[in-house]
Amino acid sequence: MRPGIILRTVLKSIFKKPATGDYPRDRSGMPAGFRGKLRFYPEKCIGCKMCMRDCPSEAITITEVAPKQFECEINLAKCIYCAQCVDTCPKKALEATGEFELAQLDLSKLKVVFHAKVDPGTEKPAE
């Protein structure tokens, strides 16, 4: 039994680089494959709404803005970034990017809309 055994390791630490990352100066980010903010490809979506069925927190909404054209609204506050919708989508229209710095002061900015590319002639009349 000796007290202060950790002394040698502790003294060696003076010469090592600190283990703390100097965020926000050092933004090395997360490894590839990190489940961050979702991205939607409107041209691939077929409107089956399976993603809405499988979302554990009802964060994603698909609406039809024109025949066969769909837009997607994701509520970043409700999303739990599980990427189940990415797995469920049969057409691979959703993808999880690595973006995770999503904090906002304004709640309305947390609703992200991915608009569909709509031809002007086929737009549904506004309700």
Binding site: G4, I5, S13, I14, P18, A19, T20
Partner: protein
């Protein structure tokens, strides 16, 4: 006029505050680097102090408001007073008289008593437990500390710190005789300044913040400043008694040597703080009375024998 200057500016309140904040920064930075972290920037203790001074003082309704508010003021006054008798860069302290060692040690005990009073009169249960622990810890480290410092004084045949410093400057190598006292004093200082392994009165994970649980705002700022100044004053005392070199040099170089000595003591305390865990109060008392006090006694005996041999 000179007295006012020395009380408020140098080596009084202003100098001690700035030096105390610097010492806290060095302590936290060294601790952080030893733990492989980055640590706070240099202005962190000052920022903490300013923030605390700007917050509201909340006094619990059941607390005794007079004792509650007076405790930090007494603490800071006592620590600032004690520095006047400690030789800083020459062999002469600001004021000295025969027996001022006892006065200094007594004045340095007062902060612990104020922690007890502040904690007890807070009437919060956590504060009371912390206060009682602070007093209990006093019984363990005070006696070895007194004995070790008085052992050095014995060899110098005087009860005045200034004359002791003069004696050791005349005989430069006599400080080696006090090495056991050096070790004992360092351990006792850990207890006095409430640093790990003896930070039992302020054990964050057991009793929230000990005696300081109910303090907030300016009163807490004073208590924290007291702790910082106490570190500087105790380190100065330690340096004056056990590291008495460079006292006969030119005042400016002597002052730089003094700063270095004090910061070295602070660094040593930081190192000791990072390598051990906290002890329980009963383990601490047993340890101090079983090992530390006998060593201090041994130092006294050695110094007595040496005194007889060297100064027949």
């Amino acid at each position: 006029m000179f007295a006012l200057f020395s009380i408020f500016i140098f080596p009084g309140f202003l100098f001690l505050s700035i030096f105390g904040l610097l010492a806290e920064f060095i302590d936290r930075k060294i601790c952080a680097r030893l733990q492989n972290r980055i640590g706070p920037p240099w202005f962190q203790p000052l920022a903490d102090l300013i923030k605390l001074l700007g917050k509201e003082d909340i006094v619990p309704t059941e607390a005794n408001i007079h004792m509650f508010t007076l405790a930090p003021i007494f603490a800071i006054t006592a620590t600032v007073c004690s520095v006047f008798y400690i030789p800083i860069w020459g062999t002469d302290a600001l004021y000295s008289f025969n027996g001022d060692i006892i006065a200094v040690l007594y004045l340095l005990t007062i902060p612990t008593l104020t922690f007890f009073i502040g904690g007890w009169y807070s009437t919060s249960l956590y504060a009371r437990i912390g206060a009682v622990r602070a007093i209990t810890q006093l019984f363990a480290y005070e006696v070895p500390l007194f004995m070790a410092i008085l052992a050095s004084a014995l060899l110098a045949d005087t009860w005045s710190l200034s004359e002791m410093a003069a004696f050791y400057s005349r005989h430069p190598w006599y400080w080696c005789f006090n090495l056991i006292g050096f070790g004992v004093s360092l351990i006792a200082l850990l207890g006095k300044l409430e640093k790990t392994p003896f930070d039992i009165p302020e054990a964050e994970t057991e009793i929230v913040a000990g005696s300081f649980t109910e303090y907030s705002g300016r009163l807490l700022a004073f208590f924290r400043l007291t702790i910082d100044i106490e570190m500087i004053v105790c380190a100065s005392l330690f340096a004056a008694v056990f590291l008495p070199f460079g006292l006969t040099l030119d005042p400016f170089i002597g002052f730089a040597v003094y700063m270095l000595k004090v910061l070295l003591v602070v660094a040593l305390l930081s190192l000791l703080r990072t390598i051990v865990a906290r002890l329980r109060i009963d383990q601490m008392i047993r340890f101090c009375w079983k090992y530390v006090a006998p060593l201090a006694l041994l130092q006294i005996v050695i110094n007595l024998i040496l005194k007889i041999m060297l100064f027949k």
